[in-house]
């Protein structure tokens, strides 16, 4: 009887733990949104820094990225098939375009922006009796099929008898050995060396580099962060923002620049290509991420929207405000002329 009781208690506690883990995971996935539902929480979230995974931030970034169907579905090199021709009515064509837009949105899913992962140096056991038993280390990997790779136990028995958890590099290599992923190699391709990166950047192939990086590395590894930082720096230095526009990497680029407070070049490029709404969204994102900056406080006090935001930003925050102000003036003039013409016509 007592045994039954203890067994029931154990089962309940285990289930509780399991549920706690699951809910913890779910909350982490959904971000701050699930936790902050009441008005009390809003003050806390304002004081806390907005993260990449926030709904508002993601919304702005997806809007800035744009959706150029011609660029997303440009012809790729693949096995040739004979072409298929379909006769469609206008409605069917619109439906097909809608389906293609949905598919494009899936393809433009932004890769996660994470902190660098903490190194693993946990020792599970120290068996000095095994010291010198063998000249090689043994690696034991759990190859159960239906578990995520981040829950897989990989341990190493060293030659001095210590049983420790495998480091991140060893983990990546072994998971690739037993569960190979398409396109990933065991040793990192030589394209990620500094010299080769320079050659590739001179050929304007930043998108390819970032795609290869996504395939090869995990989003929280140091290599991933290093390659992304180098690429974003190069893009910013040469002003080649258009290369990444309407790709899945534009969100990451914008986030990197906003957190580093260097959005001037990007805003200038957007204004050159006459994307005023995108520039306004970018400035609003900047104010969201840096609420204590001068321009953010000014904008909050004036409750500014639209081009007003751009003006405030140009006056207060930007280093090269000349171009932004010029463009804003030109825009205002055209707007005034347009309204005057409408008045005279009517």
């Amino acid at each position: 009887m007592a045994a039954l009781g203890t067994a029931r208690w154990l089962l309940r506690s285990y289930l509780c733990v399991k549920h706690v883990q699951k809910s913890h995971r779910a909350s982490v996935k959904c971000g701050v949104r699930t936790l902050c539902s009441g008005t009390q929480c809003s003050a806390h979230s304002d004081s806390a820094k907005p993260k990449f995974t926030d709904a508002a931030v993601q919304d702005i970034l997806t809007r800035i990225t744009g959706l150029d169907l011609q660029k997303v579905f440009r012809p790729i090199k693949q096995e040739l098939k004979p072409p298929t021709y379909k006769l469609m009515t206008d409605e069917q064509l619109e439906q097909a375009v809608a389906v293609a837009t949905e598919q494009a949105k899936k393809l433009l899913q932004m890769p996660p922006v994470l902190q660098e992962r903490t190194p693993i140096n946990d020792v599970l056991s120290e068996d000095k009796i095994l010291d010198g038993m063998d000249t090689a280390k043994y690696v034991f990997t759990d190859i159960t099929y239906n578990i995520p790779h981040r829950e897989r136990f990989i341990v190493v028995r060293e030659t001095n008898g210590t049983l420790r958890k495998a480091t991140w590099k060893e983990r990546d290599r072994l998971v690739q050995v037993y569960f190979p992923k398409e396109g990933r190699k065991l040793t990192a391709p030589l394209i990620f060396k500094q010299d080769n990166l320079k050659i590739v950047f001179s050929q304007d192939r930043h998108e390819d580099v970032l795609d290869l990086c996504l395939v090869q590395f995990d989003p929280d590894s140091s290599e991933f962060i290093r390659v992304h930082t180098t690429t974003y720096e190069d893009v910013e230095k040469h002003g080649k923002y258009e290369l990444l526009h309407s790709t899945r990497h534009f969100g990451g680029l914008a986030w990197y620049l906003v957190t580093a407070r260097r959005v001037d070049g990007l805003i200038e490029d957007m204004l050159k290509r006459e994307r005023l709404q995108d520039a306004v969204s970018l400035v609003s994102l900047f104010h969201m991420v840096h609420p204590h900056s001068e321009s953010a406080q000014e904008a909050a006090s004036q409750q500014a929207t639209g081009t007003e935001l751009l003006k405030i930003y140009a006056q207060k925050e930007s280093q090269r405000s000349g171009y932004i102000e010029l463009v804003l003036q030109a825009h205002e003039q055209t707007a005034a002329e347009g309204s005057a013409a409408r008045l005279t016509c009517s």
């Binding site: 040739l80 890769p111 958890k165 395939v215």
Partner: protein, 246 residues
């Protein structure tokens, strides 16, 4: 008139086949060097001026061939910009216009194993072996692109280009190295991100060290010195009193 000449030629063939071998090699070298007219003379006619000077001209030609090899060995991509290349190939790829020699209408599914064995080069060598300046190197991107289909991005089959199997392997290796280093573009698969990157699971997260490691004790109790219990020792000694050594 023809019959006695043929008879003499047959006798000469049987007696000294080595006489014709250096001459044929000479011809092949002369053909390989660009700009020289091809002397496709028959083996029956032995020009008198070649008889005595065969040896010296052979060394001169091999020296020239060696020179040609070394000129582009360091930078094989320079050859594709040079005048001689443009004169010989123009804008078409290196393998354009090459025709394999084989019996019947259908060519064998594999090209020959190699064109050059040691010093000897075969008759009708493949497009890469026939021109010693054309070197397959992973940095020679322009040459490698001639062997990649612009629509599918795959390396052409050797039955289409006519290269020997050895050169085909070298081309494939060079293309893979170039793609690895980022010199050649290729199609990259799309990756979805649905994993949980929180690192909370014990497999990748922090697990607290076991108490013995924290306190500094050894892992197993019997690793450190164990002082035996006196009463237990006395009991065991009493039990085996008869067998204890004095």
């Amino acid at each position: 008139m023809a019959a006695p000449v043929r008879h003499i030629a047959k006798v000469l063939f049987r007696l000294s086949p080595s006489v014709f071998h250096p001459l044929r090699q000479n011809e092949s070298f002369l053909c390989r060097l660009p700009g020289r007219p091809c002397l496709a003379s028959s083996p029956f006619i032995i020009p008198h001026h070649l008889y005595c000077k065969a040896a010296s001209s052979q060394t001169k030609d091999s020296a020239q061939a060696l020179e040609a090899l070394s000129r582009y060995k360091e930078k094989p991509w320079d050859y594709l910009e040079s005048e001689e290349y443009i004169e010989r190939y123009g804008t078409s790829p290196v393998w354009a216009g090459y025709r394999r020699n084989h019996k019947g209408g259908i060519p064998p599914q594999k090209t020959r194993k190699t064109c050059i064995r040691g010093d000897k080069i075969c008759g009708n060598p493949c497009p890469i072996c026939r021109d010693p300046n054309v070197i397959v190197h992973h940095q020679n991107v322009k040459l490698l692109q001639q062997f990649i289909s612009p629509q599918t991005g795959m390396v052409y089959d050797p039955t289409r280009t006519g290269v020997c199997m050895k050169q085909q392997k070298l081309i494939t290796k060079a293309v893979n190295t170039a793609q690895d280093q980022g010199l050649l573009p290729f199609q990259i698969p799309h990756v979805e991100f649905s994993e949980d990157f929180s690192n909370t699971h014990d497999a990748v997260g922090k697990t607290p060290p076991p108490p013995s490691l924290r306190s500094g004790d050894s892992w197993y109790k019997w690793y450190s010195d164990i002082t035996p219990d006196e009463t237990e020792v006395a009991k065991v000694k009493k039990l085996y009193r008869a067998y204890l050594k004095k």
